[in-house]
């Protein structure tokens, strides 16, 4: 057997992992939705969902049932095939990186040598999905919103790549697990604070989260790219967004905050996973915090920020890192 052909056991393991991954995606979306609503409420001085279940815990599953029950509408002049495909383009590729994220030293489905690049390329599918959704809606305004989102996503992918490359240079590898192993002495946030800052801001823009949510809140002026979607189609986009947030925060955790590393706790083998999830959810809390605090950035200011500030600084950071590493 060649080393790059899977054995039967490997295949079964992979399929099981995929099922778990998609299960996790839905669980994450549920938890995130609840967290977002409760946190938003608390930031605004109110209580949030309280009626359904204790402290409103059952609110999100109930909302999910409601969305499932909604009639799936396809606009009559829309390209039916593309219209139905777009949520899948958003949802599936963004869930795959969960396969290679290390939840613990041995809790990783697949340790690709090019793990980081794989994650970045999967994240890029989101741009395609947004564009297909806007185009196939046959709606002038949805298209307009989709174009803006595509421009935003493309512009911010570059600072993400450049800031992550800096870390990859230090570790000399793209493998996620290697990057965690390399943070034995200190977390990379101390070594590459600028890269983290640029990455986090660009991550907010990639996931279309406030203060960069102009494509979504286009619904103020024109329609956002997912206006024509109802029920499950809409929730696919929604889940894709939360999963994307999870991926962005996971990458930040792995690359800057030491991944699953942490003080040993009495949870046995699951300590590492708990540490990992704790850090990821902390970063997601910061993302939610940002959304409910800041007003929206105007579109041209958004592009200015990416091209005139984030890219030059991340390039500079990369050059300095390269210089230091080569010494």
């Amino acid at each position: 057997m060649e080393s790059d052909v899977f054995t039967n056991a490997e295949t079964v393991r992979l399929v099981m992992a995929l099922v778990l991954v998609f299960g996790f995606v839905f669980v994450n979306a549920t938890v995130m939705t609840y967290l977002e609503r409760k946190l938003a409420a608390r930031f605004q001085g109110r209580l949030g969902p309280m009626e359904i279940g204790f402290q409103g815990i059952l609110q999100v599953p109930v909302d999910g049932i409601k969305l499932l029950a909604k009639q799936l509408m396809v606009p009559s002049d829309a390209s039916g095939f593309l219209f139905r495909l777009a949520p899948l383009i958003a949802f599936v590729p963004v869930s795959l990186p969960l396969l290679i994220i290390p939840f613990g030293p041995k809790l990783q489905v697949l340790d690709l040598d090019v793990g980081l690049l794989f994650i970045l390329s999967m994240a890029a599918f989101n741009t395609v999905a947004v564009f297909v959704a806007g185009w196939s809606s046959n709606n002038k305004y949805a298209m307009f919103g989709a174009l803006r989102s595509v421009a935003q996503n493309i512009s911010y992918e570059i600072p993400i790549l450049l800031s992550l490359l800096a870390v990859a240079l230090i570790v000399n590898s793209f493998s996620m697990q290697q990057i965690v192993f390399a943070q034995q002495s200190c977390w990379f946030i101390l070594v590459q604070p600028i890269a983290f800052l640029i990455y986090f801001i660009s991550g907010l823009a990639e996931t279309n989260r406030a203060p960069f949510d102009l494509p979504e809140a286009e619904s103020e002026l024109t329609a956002g790219y997912h206006t024509e979607y109802s029920g499950m189609g809409f929730s696919m986009f929604f889940i894709a967004e939360y999963t994307n947030m999870f991926i962005v925060c996971s990458i930040a955790t792995v690359l800057f905050f030491g991944g699953w590393r942490g003080v040993p706790l009495p949870f046995g083998d699951y300590t590492h996973a708990l540490w990992f999830l704790g850090k990821v959810y902390f970063l997601m809390f910061v993302m939610i915090w940002c959304r409910w605090t800041f007003p929206r950035v105007r579109f041209d200011q958004l592009m200015n920020l990416a091209w005139k500030y984030l890219i030059p600084f991340s390039l500079l950071n990369l050059l300095i890192t390269a210089a230091v590493v080569s010494l």
Binding site: A40, F43, Q44, G45, R46, K140, Y141, A210, P211, D213, L214, A217, S219, E220, L221, T222, R291, W292, T293, F294, P295, R296, V297, R298, F299, D300, Q301
Partner: protein
């Protein structure tokens, strides 16, 4: 058609900022000619909220019009009340007792604060900040509770009567007012940190929608819109009415006339209103709250007008009587209409997102425009 003109044809389109708005402006419709991101021309289409208030004034005895005044500008109803009632008093030479005048000032200024708080929340909501509206409404709830105690309604107050006000204020209301004033002074710190010093907010509002003084004068803009361009014109100081001359307060102005300036002016106006309220509550004289007024008052023939400073600008009512109880004509000057008329000139070439910011900063209440 050459390639470039074809591109222009495709790139240029009409956007309808329809009568239904997620931004809480009311039923304002604007047809925008767009060139990509830029607005090339603006055509406001008004009248979706026309309720024929002025016609109603012509068809019923003048006391029955009083509730209508509140419904025209519902966010800041008491100045409209004030204007109408003072107009009748002026025409019939009716003197209002001091206590009543003080109560009128207190409630009007409270209403001004409530209106500005509503504007603040809505403006920031337009810009995409979801939280300040809830903080502003928290404060506004306190004001509305006080106004409910005093006037009987939370929003469309019908408190003033010819010769005074309809009911006296009690100790509990005065306590509530004092508590509110104390608390509100501290809330400005929160707004300062969260909004005024927020760089995203500053970037979105500075140098956006600059209105020069001569442009404001040309369109008859009044209120915070005019004052933010540097023109210190306030009806309370320049055509004083009621007991405003007895109070010590400043006219809030800003220098640049941009959206940020209008924001600063309204925040400062809230602070000045708090000062007026404190002074008025302290010096509240004893006495009746309503003068003895004959039951039926016929309006003498001829015309008269009265101006007050509403939250949005100069509210003027012009009344033509014909010797009966029913007015021959009542003309209501809506400050919002004059403020809005700027937009056709102001908005040429502006970015769409900036247009939303400018509209928000003008503080529009469309029912007042349409009456």
């Amino acid at each position: 058609m050459t390639d470039s003109t074809r591109e222009f044809e495709v790139y240029r389109f009409y956007l309808n900022l329809g009568p239904q708005h997620p931004s809480t402006h009311g039923v304002l419709r604007m047809v925008l000619g767009m060139y990509g991101e830029h607005v090339v021309d603006i055509d406001p289409v008004l009248g979706y909220g026309h309720r024929m208030h002025e016609k109603m004034a012509e068809s019923r005895p003048w006391p029955m019009f009083l509730p209508n005044t509140a419904r025209m500008d519902y966010a800041c109803a008491l100045p409209h009340n004030h204007c109408y009632v003072s107009l009748i008093e002026r025409v019939n030479n009716i003197m209002v007792p001091d206590r009543a005048e003080y109560l009128r000032v207190i409630t009007s200024e409270l209403n001004r604060i409530a209106s500005h708080l509503l504007w603040l929340g809505a403006f920031l909501l337009d810009l995409g900040a979801f939280t300040p509206i809830l903080y502003a409404f928290d404060d506004r709830e306190q004001v509305l509770d006080i106004l409910e105690h005093v006037t009987g309604s939370r929003l469309t107050h019908c408190y003033f009567r010819v010769g005074g006000v309809s009911a006296d204020i009690d100790e509990k209301s005065i306590d509530l007012i004092n508590v509110f004033v104390r608390r509100m002074w501290q809330r400005f710190d929160i707004y300062d940190k969260l909004i005024t010093k927020n760089i995203i907010f500053i970037r979105r509002t500075r140098k956006v929608g600059i209105i020069l003084p001569e442009m404001a004068r040309r369109y008859g803009a009044t209120g915070p819109v005019l004052r933010a361009s540097g023109v210190a014109h306030d009806i309370r100081k320049h055509e004083p009415y009621s007991v405003y001359p007895e109070f010590d307060f400043k006219i809030a102005t800003a220098k640049k006339g941009d959206a940020f300036g209008r924001y600063l002016v309204r925040i400062e106006e809230m602070k000045q209103s708090l000062r007026i309220i404190s002074q008025a509550v302290e010096r509240l004289p004893a006495g009746p709250v309503r003068a003895d007024v004959p039951k039926k008052i016929k309006l003498p023939s001829g015309g008269a007008s009265f101006s007050v400073e509403g939250a949005r600008g100069d509210v003027t009512y012009y009344l033509v009587g014909d010797g009966t109880e029913v007015p021959y004509r009542l003309k209501v000057r809506s400050p919002t209409l004059s403020n809005l008329s700027l937009i056709a000139e102001l908005g040429k070439g502006i970015l769409l997102a900036d247009l939303i910011a400018v509209l928000g900063s003008l503080d529009l209440v469309i029912p007042e425009i349409d009456r």
